[in-house]
């Protein structure tokens, strides 16, 4: 629900198996979208996290749409590829594919901390060692736990790393760490284009286009110097997520500008999968290992929890360490609805693109590479954004990003109940004779399991 102070609506909950493919999942999504459109409910975005399967579902949704609308932002540099946003048109409704921006931020943090690659731009690199160093310095905005025994799903740690305080600390105390400064700045601003509560949409477009042109220059630099993208560029997954974040905000602004009447504001931070994760988190607080029926019975309590969080504006402690998800979508401090209901024209966007390209080039010049060296007559032409994804299979990147696919298993869920259930089933199936003492112990465990189940049912 992209409105301030309104709790999200839980549409559907379906039991599924572990190994459903994107082709099978997209059927459920289409069924829900078609049902909503038949009731004249105007869905303008489909958001999910950055796992391989979820991104494949989004790709399939666009491919199988009734038609596609392509929005183009011309590249101000001649010979460079334009930014093209493909918007799915389903039953006459425009649906923009959105990546969860906070998941994106964690992906960029994990790329920086990965030992599988060395992010190299010009004369500088961005490396984990430097971030670890500053975490141990006096007055650092980063905690020790953010760099050691790190929780890859920690929203707060990612926010602390990509924060103005960290940038200020780096620029004051380590101005020579330019690689880290530029990397943190570009991707912090990319996510800020979604998360900022008061910024104008014109400014948001500038931030995402700057990230886009910076990535283009980075790619061109690696091509020119013949460095391997597998080792010196973002991972394939992070590149795809960055592309979707860039295109998502442009698509949302275009759809609101061109296809929605009534002056509705666009609140981009609400176009995310954060509310889904919030529901799961609340459910696990009621019953840690819930079954499908528990979840359905819990729905009333979950709705109340969501409303309570939204009305009370209950955000988690931002100073928490290794605490996993931190939900902030209902925080509307500094909200500027007038700015959020004002959309730039095509001419404005073209002017912004020019500014964004200038800024990206300045950033690259700061890293010791004159953009003209990459765009000169004997230089290779800047590659299209789509070619980022066509590079040779990036095995290391896949290994590095497996954490994302395993993410649903990391939501404070260690499967104690499953393990106990398996052991009890094995015990029932087996016909092994045991001592009286062991039999007694087994009976006690069985009773304990029944008591835990009864307790869970009472809590629901």
């Amino acid at each position: 629900m992209p409105l301030p102070k309104v709790a999200p609506i839980i549409v559907a909950a379906l039991p599924i198996s572990n190994n459903l493919s994107a082709e099978q999942l997209v059927v459920y999504t289409q069924q829900i979208l078609h049902g909503l459109f038949d009731r004249h409910i105007r869905v303008v975005s489909y958001a999910c996290d950055g796992t391989e399967t979820e991104r494949a579902v989004q790709r399939l949704l666009v491919e199988t749409a009734d038609s596609k609308v392509t929005v183009q932002v011309k590249n101000p540099r001649s010979g460079c590829p334009d930014t093209e946003v493909k918007i799915a048109c389903i039953k006459g409704n425009h649906v923009v594919m959105i990546q969860d921006s906070k998941h994106g931020l964690k992906t960029f943090r994990n790329n920086l901390f990965s030992g599988a690659r060395l992010l190299t731009f010009g004369n500088y690199t961005a490396i984990y060692q430097h971030i670890r160093e500053i975490a141990f310095e006096e007055g650092s905005p980063i905690y020790h736990r953010d760099v050691e025994k790190l929780d890859r799903q920690d929203d707060n740690a990612a926010s602390r790393l990509f924060s103005a305080a960290t940038l200020e600390f780096l620029s004051k105390n380590h101005p020579d760490y330019r690689g880290e400064i530029v990397y943190l700045f570009v991707f912090e601003e990319l996510v800020d284009a979604y998360q900022n509560r008061s910024m104008s949409h014109t400014e948001r477009i500038k931030l995402v286009l700057r990230a886009r042109y910076f990535l283009d220059l980075w790619k061109a630099f690696l091509d020119r110097t013949q460095y391997s993208e597998t080792k010196y560029f973002l991972s394939r997954e992070a590149t795809d997520i960055a592309r979707m974040l860039i295109e998502g905000i442009i698509g949302l602004i275009m759809v609101h500008h061109d296809h929605i009447d009534g002056g509705f504001p666009l609140l981009p931070w609400l176009h995310s999968s954060e509310a889904c994760e919030h529901v799961f988190g609340e459910a696990r607080q009621i019953v840690k290992d819930f079954s499908m029926l528990d979840f359905l019975y819990m729905m009333t309590k979950l709705r109340i929890s969501l409303r309570e969080a939204v009305l009370h504006n209950k955000t988690n402690n931002p100073k928490a360490r290794a605490s996993g998800y931190s939900h902030t979508y209902f925080d509307h401090q500094g909200l500027n609805l007038v700015a959020l209901a004002t959309f730039p024209s095509d001419d404005d966007i073209q002017a912004i693109a020019e500014e964004a390209a200038d800024e990206a080039e300045s950033l690259f010049a700061l890293l010791g590479i004159a953009p003209s060296q990459l765009q000169g007559s004997d230089a290779v032409q800047l590659p299209s954004i789509h070619t980022w994804l066509d590079s040779e299979s990036d095995r290391m990147a896949e290994d590095d990003n497996n954490w994302m696919d395993m993410e649903s298993g990391n939501e404070d869920f260690d499967g104690d109940a499953c393990e106990l259930q398996d052991l009890l089933e094995q015990e029932e199936a087996g016909q092994v004779s045991r001592s009286r003492e062991t039999q007694g112990r087994l009976m006690s465990l069985t009773c304990a399991a029944l008591a835990v189940t009864a307790n869970d049912m009472m809590r629901v």
Binding site: L36, Y46, M292
Partner: protein
Amino acid sequence: MNLSIFSAYKVHKPIAFSDIILLLGPTVAIGELASKFWDCCLSLFREKEARQPWFPMKIGDRTFQLVQEHLTALGYSDGPLGLSCDDTKLFPAFRMYWDSQERTHFVVGGIDGPMRVANPDRLRIMLQDPGTAKATKVRQCQ
């Protein structure tokens, strides 16, 4: 400070808010009043939630009808909306429930949705059937 101070005054004779401020001090009085209002709001929510319709177990017409009714109640029938999906692990288990509308028992927790149970023998056959798989994840859309 106990809230009963407000109800005590309400029962015996009306008392001006200025008197309460005089008794409790402005900060405490405002705080107590705010929490009193919050308690009222919370109990109202719970009464309303208790009357909410049962959450649909399958994707069907009722799924979308509930969303539409919710939006109409909010006065936001024609505004833009965002859909998001995510999944999480589930404790794989079959659980039985009584559907008062259908007047029959259903087993929930399989990947094929709720299964009608005609009698105990049928339930035993269903649970022993290797084709009846337990769901290991729940996929939720908002």
